[in-house]
Amino acid sequence: MSSYLAPAILWSAIALCAVAQVALLHSFFLGASRPARGASRAFRTTETLWVVLPALTLACLLAVTWRAVHAPAPAGPGGAPASAIGAEAGS
């Protein structure tokens, strides 16, 4: 793979995820999918959890992916990068 493709994919994906995730959070906190005014405090708390938890997971995943993309890649058998070799562990 060419050296510019991996960062291009990474940053495009981060931008796409950021736009979509901000839209989802905006909808929940300020838009059409926010809990009704009469909803109980417990319901609001759990609803907030269901929206924030995937957002945090996604942010963590993107951070881990960023590290995997930028990690030094010592050549393995056949010149494959280390991250790809990890995916072959069971073969």
Binding site: L16, A32, A84, A87, A89, G90
Partner: protein, 297 residues
């Protein structure tokens, strides 16, 4: 021949009902997302693939049967589900519960003894998540039921991966999240079409709580995240350019379908298209992963 003869039609009906309890059409896609990751993780033997297929079917089938037991009070009031074995009166609820638990137990032992403990634990976690987190808790309490409940359907890739690799790594987590983020646009397309059924039984599906347009907008946001996630494994070298092209083409078509729903006044036919295409999308995406990896090995 001794014993009481069972009428052939009744025997066939019972067999058909037992199979129907496992929801075989849904399981067929789950098995694609179980078996394909095995060939992404390595080159499994045919016996291992067979064991994981049987174990996966039994576990998912058990979860589906227990789901039918727990949802028996609403299934008879929904057009989509009222012909199921319990609401139609052909099977007793306790028998269905016992059948579901027996299938899950058999799957756990099969996977633990003949594959590995991690695979069995992940499959069982998927069972518990579907039964207790989705069906018992989220389904009837929150419009986020499909988002969080989608995790239950995302366990199969982890199961397949763990069966071959004996562990879970970054690529496997991506496969999990791809199914997780695929679930809202897929299922909300159906929820838009069946919202009155859900409304009748008090299940707070997104279109009923947020409205149709907001649900469609959220389908769009989840589709964008899904497309992004399908490309990222290429960035850290898990898949090659061939897979990237397939992921972008398949994802682009899904995005086009969702945008068409969002922009339509009469969206029924377009929502059906998204629902059906999303099934094909997930299957083809996983096939593309296998082809890419097997050609690279």
């Amino acid at each position: 021949m001794t014993g009481v003869a069972v009428p052939r039609t009744a025997e066939r009906t019972l067999t058909a009902d037992l199979i129907a309890l496992t929801k075989p059409r849904i399981i067929s896609l789950l098995l694609v997302t179980t078996i394909a990751p095995m060939y992404v993780a390595g080159r499994p033997g045919i016996l291992l693939v067979l064991l994981v297929t049987i174990g996966g079917y039994l576990m998912a089938g058990g979860a589906n049967a227990v789901n039918m037991y727990l949802d028996r009070d609403i299934d008879d009031r929904m057009a989509r589900t009222r012909l199921r074995p319990i609401p139609s009166g052909r099977m007793q609820p306790q028998a269905v519960l016992a059948f579901g638990v027996a299938l899950a137990t058999a799957a756990t032992f099969l996977l633990a003894f003949f594959v590995n403990v991690l695979t069995a634990a992940l499959a069982l976690a998927g069972f518990y998540f579907y039964v207790f987190i989705y069906t018992r808790w989220l389904k009837r309490t929150t419009p986020q039921n499909i988002v969080i409940g989608g995790a239950a359907g995302a366990f199969p890739p982890l199961v397949g991966w763990a069966a071959v690799a004996g562990r879970v790594d970054l690529t496997a987590i991506f496969l999990f999240l791809i199914v997780f983020y695929w679930t809202p646009p897929h299922f909300w397309a159906l929820a838009l079409l069946k919202q009155h059924d859900y409304g009748r039984v008090g299940v707070p599906m997104a279109p009923l709580v947020w409205g149709e347009r907001e649900t469609m907008r959220q389908m769009l946001w989840y589709t964008l995240i899904l497309i992004a996630l399908t490309t990222l494994p290429v960035a850290f070298g898990a898949f090659g350019v061939g897979y990237l092209v397939a992921a972008l083409a398949l994802g682009g078509l899904l995005l086009w379908g969702v945008v068409r729903v969002l922009r339509a006044g009469q969206w029924t036919a377009r929502a059906w298209w998204v629902y059906k295409y999303s099934l094909l999308y997930l299957a083809l995406l996983f096939v593309a992963m296998v082809v890419d990896r097997q050609l690279a090995l």
